[in-house]
Symmetry: D2
Subunit: 350 residues, 4 copies
Amino acid sequence: MTTDLATRPHPHHTAGTPTAPPRPVRVGILGAGEQSTAHLLPALLRLPDARITVLADPVTARRDRLAERLGVPVRLNNVAEVVASGQVDCIVAACPPQAHEQIAAAAIEAGVPVFVEKPPAVSTAALTELAAAAGTAGVLTGVGMNFRWAAPIHRLRQELTDPPHGTSSMISVRHVASKPTASMWDLPLWRTFLLAQAIHPIDLLLTLAGSPVVDIQPACRLAGSGIWLGLQLQHANDAISTLVCGNQAPRFEHRVEVTTTAGITATLNDLAELNIAGVNADHTGPGQRGTSSRWRPSPLDVGYDRTGFGGELAAFCAAVATGNQFTPSLADLVPTYRIMDQLCPTGGTR
Amino acid sequence: MTTDLATRPHPHHTAGTPTAPPRPVRVGILGAGEQSTAHLLPALLRLPDARITVLADPVTARRDRLAERLGVPVRLNNVAEVVASGQVDCIVAACPPQAHEQIAAAAIEAGVPVFVEKPPAVSTAALTELAAAAGTAGVLTGVGMNFRWAAPIHRLRQELTDPPHGTSSMISVRHVASKPTASMWDLPLWRTFLLAQAIHPIDLLLTLAGSPVVDIQPACRLAGSGIWLGLQLQHANDAISTLVCGNQAPRFEHRVEVTTTAGITATLNDLAELNIAGVNADHTGPGQRGTSSRWRPSPLDVGYDRTGFGGELAAFCAAVATGNQFTPSLADLVPTYRIMDQLCPTGGTR
Amino acid sequence: MTTDLATRPHPHHTAGTPTAPPRPVRVGILGAGEQSTAHLLPALLRLPDARITVLADPVTARRDRLAERLGVPVRLNNVAEVVASGQVDCIVAACPPQAHEQIAAAAIEAGVPVFVEKPPAVSTAALTELAAAAGTAGVLTGVGMNFRWAAPIHRLRQELTDPPHGTSSMISVRHVASKPTASMWDLPLWRTFLLAQAIHPIDLLLTLAGSPVVDIQPACRLAGSGIWLGLQLQHANDAISTLVCGNQAPRFEHRVEVTTTAGITATLNDLAELNIAGVNADHTGPGQRGTSSRWRPSPLDVGYDRTGFGGELAAFCAAVATGNQFTPSLADLVPTYRIMDQLCPTGGTR
Amino acid sequence: MTTDLATRPHPHHTAGTPTAPPRPVRVGILGAGEQSTAHLLPALLRLPDARITVLADPVTARRDRLAERLGVPVRLNNVAEVVASGQVDCIVAACPPQAHEQIAAAAIEAGVPVFVEKPPAVSTAALTELAAAAGTAGVLTGVGMNFRWAAPIHRLRQELTDPPHGTSSMISVRHVASKPTASMWDLPLWRTFLLAQAIHPIDLLLTLAGSPVVDIQPACRLAGSGIWLGLQLQHANDAISTLVCGNQAPRFEHRVEVTTTAGITATLNDLAELNIAGVNADHTGPGQRGTSSRWRPSPLDVGYDRTGFGGELAAFCAAVATGNQFTPSLADLVPTYRIMDQLCPTGGTR
């Protein structure tokens, strides 16, 4: 999954010949905080055809410590300086959502491809405006929805999309965590929770269903700092998708579960154990009741393919190099935001 | 769980003295089909204080083969003969729902305690009428909802009802199976599915929530012989319960999952693996992230405690012996039927 | 696995015609203790073509309670009475090993097929003598080594014996329990442990290896009431089998694990989860690393197929009805006893 | 586990004052192959107080590509140049074993702390000589036995070493893989397998047992390119340890299992699922049979703590900074090599 960048002509460069390999994609990082340090930078460092050329953060102390450790040569303060530096082919940002809005706007205006961690914006209005600007300007954008790119979820989708497997009839995601239980980003707790946590499984439901939503059935609770919500979506293709989400678990727990009209069930627990039953005659014959195909990562699994951080950044850098599209773009997140806008706590406050 | 029957005075007998042990409860079986053979009779045979004294079935060949094998002395044809025989202290029936209605009515009229397998009736109207008759006559009734009595579910409930564990905020049941995919009992497929399959998880959701339903959000599909449904319930205590159910799985798969307001998550897979996280300091301290308490049945687990068939019959026989109540009675199933009445396929038929 | 008995002529009866179905096999039980009550009798009651006609136990109170509950008509005191009754086609005994020796001897002398629970004898000498007597008399014998007949182990063996799977190269059994930690049967603790516990996995190793032992490497410890032992066997076909066994676990834990020369690994945990990897191209191709075929029992699994008690008694009764052989016979246990004779605690007593 | 380096005086520098934080430890890498790229360098890049200052490899093309990607400023060809550069506080090498011998010798002679991946040497003689030289010179050495430092194994050891848990009575390691099946490093296949694969679990057995070996019971097979071996060790403290190892599995499978004299069982599967049963009253009381404490990594687990590569390099760099010891040193591997010397294929070649 650490995709080597393709060798097609590079639209952002004055490429010599179509067959010449692209020079490594030069990445400018905005944000030297936890998300960059723990996930994005290590994932980028594993890509053979990407180079981190610039690290920018207004908190210069942590920026310099990180840049020195990782050998990043250029250290700047903000998106304006990064764009002006001429040292980057694209921007990768991991900041608060308000900063993501500013960074994306500046990058789009400058014509620089930009990837922002989730949440890409505070509001649907802001996101829609940015997506429109990117469309008008023809600038590549990406949003860091790592679950879409997690290798086990990719595997699940691949195994279920072969023709004989029917279409998904029921899609369930369980995504419970121990945080956030306090307001962040100057936003109320409820909006904080939606943008920090619920955005992931809602986006995943829409991605897995692959069919427009025709009915939304929410059930939302906010009690003190505790949040729990159920969400049932009915899709145009008759699929039903359900979400269980909250911040009251002792630790992050994750499950994706799909049933198809052809009698397949697939369950992925904690991105680490995939069971698919009924795929073929081997699992449906009389002697095979109770059997499933099971996948587990290697005991020595390391890196960022399993979590999706590696895959999404590899694909985004490849899109920068080749001029191809990347999913999800800013525009691709709009349906997810529209769902979030319909989720309001209607109980739990007593 | 193979509860010895208690030694309290037996209200249905002319008991000698309060301290005398009850004579074994004499059970008359109605129905010599698969459910009796595979589940109810073996479970009854394990109870030290119950005796199967009568086996009745209009199909005399299978009745006699079964009675001979199990040493049941009296073989009859129908509920009227069983009631008239004077050989039973109670009736246990496993027949089609229409027969359950007749058997329950006859037993109630005769004042004989009666336990019917699910589904206890075809319609809510019939069930309500029977429940009312039992109430008026003061006759003990029971319905075979084995999941309520399954030992692992009992264990889950016990562990979550200790005071420090908060109240359940989210309850999820997944109950998917490979059948029924054809009409049974002269009922349409949709009603067949509800009475044969969905009745179980709906009853379980209501039992686990323990709080009245204030909103019902259904999503139901019937396409050819395929059925899938999602159900989201909002309860008076702010709990949200969700169900995923269908007949398109390669085999029966079952999961119960609960989150509480005190930060506990409990997952029970296939009645065979229970994980509870966050119960106490051991699972929430910094060194304990990711730990849970796990329960598995013994490798040599046999019998009917795990599935609940043993527990429900032991409890019903104990109630017969002692005059105590049994849950669920016919009346206890009414809310479950009322939910089922609101589930209609609204899509999937295109 | 609840095998209907075959319809071949019944050698112990004066069968009318070869095509006539055999009358049900009449079974006389010796021993009304825990093993009979919990395992053997319920398993027998599930067999369509067996009838428990006699129950014998010198402790008449528990014998009568059990016989009444299960509707067993004839109640006797010992093997002599059972043999003399003319009411049984075979004997099934679950008693102390000394009683097994006497019962087997009496049954063999009377020409009555006999199945004894493990351990079938106290000593290798006694076992060998009984096996020789049975051979001379041509009497069918069986020993209750239920793991040989456990459905998941049977399944494991079947999947590994197809031609492309190579031969077993490494066979490992882990069998640890919490008992016995005290002397039983007037035998020293060490011998008690061997006969009550270690006999099972040693017999299983020999069965799974299917090749004579050419070298024995034991490591045995007895410290207070604590026992732990390792055993490594080298077989004539170059297979290596290993055992880890002891009485210091908090509960019974069981695992069977096999590797073959064709690159298959099979693991069966607690008779409840079977994983087989590398069986075919599906598990060895580049996209299939980490996949395995997994089998789990049904959530509603009940009965005695999984533990083997059902399978062994069905097969023994079928052998009684048809005159076919049954495995393991008394003679089949001799190699297992010879291994046990070489296990002596050489440490742990300091 | 990404231990910040301690702040004690740095013996290899002319530290200003004892309280001054050490300058980051400068690490020189030898070897730009797969092991460096996939495991060691990413793990080092996560350490806040380490800097990769030099990368050396005689294959300059891959060296330069890797150095450019990771921003390593100095690129050299061999250990002599690295030692002479004055740019490193320590050496980390991932090369063939013959090169490890040379690198270790040169580093020891130069007084530079040196960490070599396994295998540290081809022969016990060479290893012993190097260990002696390091001892004489007082140079810090380390060997990359990552399983010793894997976080889940560390966790297992911690939980079992609390006083009430008794001492380990049985220790089992299963370590089967799909390679090597061909000769490497100009060594015969059998020696290749020992040095590339079996060295890990043998070292782990000795580490977990923590008691001298008093008896070795090996069983070794080499048939074509297939290898399988069993090893049973008896320890001075009466513990028994067993190994199952081979190259015929479809993929790497790993298990560590320990039983203690106080009735604890601990099982760690594939470095990803740890179950400990019987630890305290919670798991031994009548209501708690079948419960265990279970640990799983987070769904978003990334990095190198779980595999041990992060922990060992953090600890080695900390030892470089503080002058403390590191385990395992070259000398610590000598017992592991002595065991390997006793393993010869005695069958399987027919």
